[in-house]
Amino acid sequence: MSTLDISPIALPAPRQGRPLVQPQQLILAALLAFEIAIFSLIGSRFLTWDNFFQVQRLNVELGLLALALTPVIVSGGIDLSVGSLMGLSAVLFGMMWRDREMSPWLAGAVTIGVGGLAGLLNATLITRLRIPPLIVTLGSFSLFRGIAEGLTGGYDNFTNFPKSFLFLGQGNIGPMPAQIPILLIAAAGFWVLLHRAAIGRALCAIGFSPEGARHAGIPVERRIGLVYVLSGLMSALAAVIYVSRVGQAKADAGTGYELLAITAVVLGGTSIFGGRGSIIGTLMGLFAIAILQNGLRLADLRPELAGILTGTLLLVAIGLDWRPSSRAMVAQAGAPGSAAEEFDMKNSQVAAICAVILAAALIVVGGNFMLVKSIQQGGGGASFSGTNGSGGGRGPAAGKKVTIAMMPKSMGNAYFIAAQKGAQDAAKELGVELLWDGPTDTDPAKQNEIVDTWITRGGIDVIAVAVENRDGIASALRKARDKGIKVVTYDADTTPDARDFFVNQATPEGIGYTLMDSAAKSMGGKGEFAIITASLTASNMNEWRKNIEARLKEKYPDIKLVDTRPCDDKQDKAFSETNTLLSKYPDVKLIMAICSPAVPGAAEAVKQAGRKDVHVVGLGLPNQNKAYVHEGITDAVILWNTMDLGYLTVLASDALAKGALKPGDASLPGGRIGKIEIKGDNILLGTPFIFNKDNIDKFDF
């Protein structure tokens, strides 16, 4: 066995032979500097205090998780449950505040306590029963999120928190976001714990060799227990800050954060095998990822690049950490001078990282050149002078193009691709510059981040958003309006005070009623039906469901809604859920699918079950459903013309930027769609359109 150079009582040993900064951190620092240099060249307003603090604000929750995960990984463990625990904590926090009427601060404190208990559960299973942490936390990953979903039924959410509480996540102390001090204190605390306390040395020893540490007199179980409890506490704290930043507590808070946090920690040079790691490295890894995401956005590059580059960096980072055999590991920990050896060993890897950085730079720069080129080409023909009436500080000056930044609910969704097509048509017609960006992952707070980045980017006249989180995004949009940017929402609305106009493709009543009416028609006015929705947490689908149920109660006493199941926006899940529903409720006459991948999925399930007596109606795109409509399985697909929705949004945004559209207007010249009615601050696209056998072939989107 190895002999560790740790004294039996594990005092903070003198750091002989250990350089203050390790080679990997030097390279990470170089990478950070490089990222900053590149993005300040090609991104607009990248290198400003505003942007700096913006990045930090968005980073706090992830930062807390990454900090807590560092000692966990150093001790040779892992904690996959941190993101799920955020979801559970957010829900508990919301319940205590709303249902038990606690003050937010008390609720926050209790939540953090519960987080500690959840951490204790992990710790107990890991230390008492000796189960590998990966499995324990995989189990609690499902368990915590599952309890959060079960408690809220998935769709209950908590909003309207008091201003004083929202300050924590949205306010500023001087120029600094209010939550930054918390991160700094936590970072300092963890730094002391890991690098200046006996416990930190003990954790390294445990990570290197638990058995050896035990022989050295370290209370291994208690030390390991401590890091998981800390990780629980931090997750709950992160959840409270998250709720305060987003202004909404829902079961989906923190989805996917665990992998991001682990990425940051590993990128920062902490060995996934345990035994070695640093808090400063973790912070640097965190910033490297955050700056990459932020910089790519400000440089108007594809957001998917962020993930691809982060993954590549991760591979390179662990490549640098390469220890070919376990013997090298012993040498490294045993001999004081090993850092130098380690460095020698890695010349080839240093070359590799340089190559990757260069390649990344080429992609970034190349992409930017092409973009600039395409803009110049696009702008060449359409030179117009904006008749800018209103518009605040950054309104378009005469002769400058109007810039509209438009956001779908998520990238890679056929529905919004059709909307994008329409938007591009309008942009071409009007000669406006159109930015199109949206979340690529499942993080529900991502839309806020993108709006914030756009505010920082500057030069944007109108922001048009298809809102995912009604109350969640309001704070970000209000901020944009404060900066003089016009805000339009489309597809789904936010709170009315956070935007100028809402391009209403159809009101939730319109959609809900039309769906229920066509369902009733298909069912002949009586019988049972079931609903397939995207997720139980999506706000606008819940709005539709409310209206469907309202219409049902009011008009169709003989029809009964038997169940509602989520399909996670996936066709195969919609298929199996429909299958389950059909067999559990044999009398179901109709499946109503209210998200677009669910309609073909449900229809296929009905078809395969051979149930000629069951009909499908749903909200979806004509192309995906043509076959089923012709086969007579799907009776009606309801949708507005999605392309027109994108088209009209750009049209309205442009008019708004130029002052041609003002509050109180009753109509808008709608270009190729014709005159558009405006009701209050809702721009109405028209009533939802029903695609059926007779007309579906006329549409291609």
Binding site: L129, G146, G150, G319, A414, S583, E604
Partner: protein, 333 residues
């Protein structure tokens, strides 16, 4: 049940060689599955008329992926990139079929595509000796984002008639899906027990150094395991895709954790070298049945929250109970 080939297994921490002791996990998980089935039979016998068979069609792709994951975990590694591989392979299958390739060629290319992605993981993990959890975390993100970039979420549509169910009728298609999955499972279960190649996976997972001294080449074994994992993911994606007349590129998100959970519940030790494919089969069956069972057992009083919302919590609980009972058993002995 003791045969000489079991010598490579590390059972040193367990006492007794009786069948019961050795297969206590498989037996207890099977008991849990049977209990669940009998509850369903008692309260909602309808389950067996329609959903039982259909649930196995749904589970077929998961089962194939779980076979691969069992090998990976037995070799003391992990692969969390399979969800992304699954999506890419599905899209590849769809695109190839749309371009007029005959279905057998589509199937081969899809499996080869999966194997290639698995081989990339294998190079990093086996040849460069990098930790598999980090490597596959990175490839998971890279593959998923590349797919998003390429497809922008658009379905692959207008597939030829021969795509769905390989051009067979629905019934034969469903049967052949489940049969393929079970044959793969049986084949691997046999190979893992009786072939030297199979035993070497156990050997490497138990103690890499000892395996090397015994003449096994650990790097080669690990590389092959990752490549097989990829190939099986390709096959799983194919089985998943042919159930539909079009391909959804968003599938597979979260598949990796579901599969790992099923494998772990089935009694495969995450520390490598211990577990069986029979256990995996039962694990997949148990976790794959919970969701629909909850819908069936839901008494459903209108206005109340449905039982289905607790699906994930119950899955998590099953994982924890399964591994905790393991831990408790170990403490006693």
């Amino acid at each position: 049940m003791t045969s000489s080939s079991d010598a490579t297994l590390s059972y040193s921490d367990e006492q007794g060689n009786a069948t019961w002791t050795r297969y206590v996990r498989e037996i207890s998980v099977a008991a849990a599955y049977l209990l669940l089935l009998s509850i369903l039979a008692l309260f909602t016998p309808r389950y067996f008329q329609a959903k039982f068979a259909a649930s196995w069609v749904d589970m077929a792709p998961v089962l194939v992926a779980a076979v691969g994951m069992t090998l990976v975990i037995l070799a003391r590694h992990i692969d969390i990139s399979i969800g992304s591989q699954f999506a890419i392979c599905g899209v590849v299958a769809g695109l190839l079929a749309r371009n007029g390739l005959p279905m057998p060629a589509v199937a081969l290319c899809t499996i080869a595509c999966g194997a290639a992605m698995g081989a990339v993981n294998g190079i990093f993990v086996a040849l460069m000796g990098l930790p598999s959890i980090v490597v596959t975390l990175a490839t998971m993100v890279i593959l998923r984002e590349s797919l998003r970039w390429g497809r922008q979420g658009a379905f692959v549509q207008d597939l030829p008639r021969g795509f769905q169910w390989f051009g067979q009728s629905q019934f034969t298609g469903q049967v052949s899906l489940v049969a393929t999955a079970l044959i793969i499972l049986a084949l691997f279960a046999w190979a893992m027990r009786w072939l030297a190649a199979g035993r070497s996976v156990y050997a490497v997972g138990s103690d890499q150094e000892a395996a090397r001294l015994a003449g096994v080449r650990p790097k080669r074994v690990v590389f092959n395991v990752f490549m097989l994992m990829g190939a099986l993911t390709g096959l799983a994606a194919l089985l998943g895709a042919v159930r539909f007349p079009n391909v959804d590129p968003n599938v597979g998100q979260g598949l990796e954790l579901n599969v790992i959970a099923a494998v772990v519940v089935g009694g495969v030790a995450i520390s490598g070298g211990r577990g069986t494919l029979v256990g995996t089969l039962i694990g997949v069956a148990l976790l794959g049945t919970i969701g629909s069972a909850l819908v069936f057992l839901d008494p459903h009083h209108p206005g109340e929250r449905s039982l289905g919302a607790w699906e994930r919590a119950i899955q998590g609980l099953i994982i924890l109970v399964a591994v905790a009972s393991d831990g408790l058993g170990r403490r006693k002995s």
